[in-house]
């Protein structure tokens, strides 16, 4: 793995019994880029993400994340990446601040006051400094997503995986979240792997994308989203980017 490649997957496949989700999927994500995995519902993009973060062992193929093989060195990978789940997955019994402090408490020797201060910095980086003491149930969906992003950033991982970050958000909040992702990339030099089917988000943040299709059981397109939108002749890609009904 060259120094600039942070995620490499080779010939990945996933089947559940007789059902093939996808096969022959290969990808490389480079340091500092925002790589989008897109596709329609049931195309296997969330399954691919679960494979990449080590939650689902692939039925075939190999994965390396930050130079470590998945699933063999899954623990090292999981302690070195940040993951934003579709629901946010904040712990309902903790305040937003406590949610962000949790990884620091588990993985560092920081004294409690330092953990609180560092967690507050993360919350302020995502614009939630004043909501630190609120419970997840007291904040909006967009705020919960940003808080979950702050938690994913707690240990300053160089690589973040985001599963449907815009799901359930209104267009304005979704655009704000896109801007936050771009700001974090600019300010902290992070690399993002984003799974989404939100066209506006894909075009706003994606440097490169990989498109999965459920019927083709694999990758049908790869490249810059705007270029794919402008030039792709593939009927599924055109239907996706131009909202055409096939």
């Amino acid at each position: 793995m060259t120094n600039s490649v942070v995620v490499r997957a080779t010939n990945l496949g996933q089947s559940f019994g007789e059902t093939v989700i996808f096969k022959g999927v290969s990808l490389e994500v480079h340091r500092g880029e925002i790589f989008v995995i897109l596709g329609g519902s049931g195309s296997g993009k969330s399954t691919l993400l679960r494979q990449l973060i080590g939650l689902l062992p692939p039925t075939e193929g190999e994965i390396e994340v930050l130079g470590w093989a998945i699933p063999r060195e899954r623990t090292r990978v999981l302690s070195s990446i940040g993951v934003l789940f579709q629901s946010g997955a904040l712990f309902g019994s903790m305040t937003l601040l406590e949610n962000v402090m949790l990884p620091l408490e588990m993985h560092t020797d920081l004294p409690p006051s330092a953990r609180a201060q560092l967690a507050l910095v993360k919350l302020r980086l995502v614009g939630l400094g004043e909501a630190a003491d609120l419970m997840p149930s007291e904040v909006s969906g967009g705020m919960a997503k940003r808080a979950a992003m702050a938690r994913a950033l707690a240990l300053d991982p160089p690589l973040l995986f985001l599963d449907e970050p815009s799901a359930g958000l209104d267009p304005i909040t979704s655009a704000e979240l896109d801007q936050l992702i771009l700001n974090l990339r600019r300010d902290l030099g992070l690399t993002f792997v984003v799974v989404t089917h939100e066209l506006a988000s894909i075009l706003a943040i994606g440097d490169r994308c990989l498109m999965l299709d459920g019927k083709a059981h694999g990758v049908i397109a790869e490249g810059n989203p705007k270029e794919l939108q402008a030039h792709s002749d593939h009927p599924v890609v055109r239907a996706f980017f131009h909202r055409e009904v096939r």
Binding site: M1, V77, H107, P111, A131, E138, D156
Partner: protein
């Protein structure tokens, strides 16, 4: 490779130097990241605080990596110092992080942590009063639903009623039989010890029969119902509320009290006498088995049991059981309908349903004892 470098030397180091009497220099080295700065955080802040009257320099020339955790440490040192320190040897990347962190933290000397609001929790009397108001409102809703039931009969779906009766009643039978049988055996054994001293061991049959039919059968059946069904009602209705299913009901023009609460109350009123009866019979069988073990003939035990107990005892117990069931189901549904937000709230609602149900059983039992005493029953 990022991970390999991090694993090699995860620690950061800090030394205090005094290049001249008026200057304190904190010399950092290694990795100033979340994993590395833990050990040097407190010494750094303390050294910065001690430098109060002198010039403070933060020397980062030997730092390999500095991310937001490292930048936050530097900002914390400045906060402890009371003003901005002079930063030496920082890379352009570290400067960016420091600028970013300084941008979101209050300036040195200001209050370090500005927290958001925390909603004060209601305590003591206010909480009890709020719960009482909710309880009364719930009873009002149920009463209204009952009054209007003839116009909303379609909302009472027989399938739901059968499912609820099956869950609350049929599926509770194995546990009820086990508890009842063991209750009878235990009471017979415990009762026989003092009775034996007076040669009145046979009268254990009277004691157990009356105690079970009048009191223990109904109470224990109700406790089983509170543990199984009351909590299940609270969790089911609470989850429906969290999933906005109750809102969906309202938007479809359906009334939650009629659609969700009444079927549960009716199902429990129907099954509770049956559960109580099954528990009574199981307890008497348990007592019979124990008494046979003591050597008494079968007919003697039956005759003795029937001599003292009456049908009135049995019916009184069954009636009490129905009332207990009604209270348990109502408390379970009310706990579910007033659930807060989040998965913890569902757990709290279930707990509230069980605790409230058991307290209600005992309070109602006390009231029944008083009434039955006054009526001479």
């Amino acid at each position: 490779m990022w991970g390999e470098a991090k694993a090699k030397d995860a620690q950061a180091h800090m030394k205090v130097a005094e290049p001249d009497p008026g200057t304190v220099r904190l010399v950092f080295s290694g990795r100033l990241d979340a994993v590395g700065v833990g050990k040097i955080w407190l010494p750094t802040v303390a050294a910065a605080e001690r430098a109060h009257e002198r010039k403070l320099e933060l020397d980062l020339s030997a730092v390999e990596v500095c991310d937001t955790a490292g930048a936050t440490l530097l900002a914390a040192a400045e906060a402890a110092y009371g003003k901005a320190a002079e930063v030496l040897g920082a890379s352009s990347e570290t400067w960016e992080f420091l600028k970013r962190v300084r941008g979101v933290l209050p300036p040195p000397g200001a209050s370090p942590l500005v927290r958001g609001r925390k909603k004060p929790e209601e305590k003591g009397f206010a909480r009890a009063a709020a719960a009482a108001v909710l309880g009364v409102a719930f009873l009002g809703e149920v009463a209204t639903a009952l009054i209007n039931l003839h116009r909303r009969l379609r909302m009472l779906r027989p399938g739901d009623l059968l499912r609820l009766a099956d869950t609350a009643g049929v599926q509770a039978l194995p546990l009820t039989i086990l508890v009842g049988f063991l209750l009878g055996v235990i009471l017979a054994f415990q009762g026989s010890l003092p009775m034996r001293q007076f040669g009145a061991e046979l009268f254990v049959a009277d004691l157990v029969t009356v105690a079970v039919l009048r009191e223990l059968g109904a109470v224990l059946a109700a406790v089983i119902l509170a543990g199984r069904t009351g909590s299940a009602f609270a969790a089911e209705v609470g989850t429906m509320k969290i999933n906005q299913e109750l809102d969906a009901l309202v938007t479809m023009g359906l009334d939650a009290a009629t659609f969700l609460v009444l079927p549960r109350l009716i199902a429990v009123i129907i099954v509770m006498p049956a559960i109580t009866l099954v528990l009574d019979v199981s307890a008497l069988i348990g007592m019979l088995v124990a008494m046979r073990g003591f050597g008494f003939p079968f007919t003697a035990i039956i005759n003795e049991a029937l001599r003292f107990a009456s049908v009135r005892d049995l019916l009184g117990g069954l009636f009490k059981g129905s009332c207990f069931g009604l209270a348990i189901a109502a408390i379970g549904c009310q706990s579910g309908l007033t659930v807060g937000k989040g998965p913890r709230a569902v757990g709290e609602a279930a707990t509230r349903a069980v605790v409230g149900g058991i307290v209600a059983i005992l309070v109602l039992d006390g009231i029944f004892a008083l009434i039955f005493y006054q009526l001479g029953i």
